[in-house]
Symmetry: C2
Subunit: 124 residues, 2 copies
DNA sequence: CAGAATCCCAGCCGATACTG
DNA sequence: CAGTATCGGCTGGGATTCTG
């Protein structure tokens, strides 16, 4: 029997900081969420409205992950029906900036990528 | 800058260039793969050896996706057992650079993130 | 050596329903 | 309003087997 010893992850371990970042921003909603919050603090249902198509489950889950990683804060106001405001942290703001570099790369090179795909798909 | 109205595919449509990039680099092996190939062209089994823990399936699949997007090239040599060399393209090299910005962000802020996680996990 | 094909599981994610 | 809980589909990804 092939036992693996301590194969926890090699260069690919959870200790790899890059992996931590990609696990955060690689999911479906984080980038869009940061994109909204970087402009202003926003409440739960308002976020739900902005990110058309998100489910409460994923919104809550994504926000919780962001909060846990110190990228957004959650503040509760004791209004009549309680309201909760999410805001980006300074740390989150720096990440949003870095993610923006990615977005810029994408916009600059999307045509080239699209052409590569066509070439690839149109061959024997 | 043009306002996009188009609510059919949300802001989250496949047309979104940022989404295309995240779908490419967000997977488990792309970043590591680029990290190896950015140094020198490498053959299939050599890649498999370098990325300890990757399966042939995922390696082949990831390479194919990279090739389709024009980020790496695949060249076959008619040696005795045939050998195949994968190399990063200029386009792929620019992406690798951008990804590196992400890695730098991660390394600079991993401590702060870790502390945020501890604080989050250690509360009632 | 370089891969394709198959099986299977864990986790993401959406839809829906329920709570304070 | 702001969530949590549960069910189920889909897919990323690993292990294994087979081919040129």
């Amino acid at each position: 029997m092939a036992m693996k010893k301590e194969r926890k992850g090699d260069a690919y371990s959870a200790r790899c900081p890059a992996r931590l970042v990609l696990d955060q921003i690689g999911d479906k909603w984080t980038v869009l969420l940061l994109g909204v919050l970087v402009k202003q603090p926003t409440r739960f249902n308002e976020l739900k409205r902005r990110l058309q198509g998100v489910s409460q489950k994923m919104l809550g889950q994504t926000l919780k992950k962001l909060e846990r990683n110190g990228l957004v804060t959650r503040q509760v106001f004791a209004t009549v029906p309680v309201s909760v405001e999410y805001a980006i942290t300074p740390l989150g703001r720096t990440l949003a900036g870095t993610v923006d570099a990615l977005r810029q790369w994408a916009e600059q090179h999307i045509d080239e990528v699209a052409r590569a795909q066509e070439r690839f798909d149109a061959r024997p």
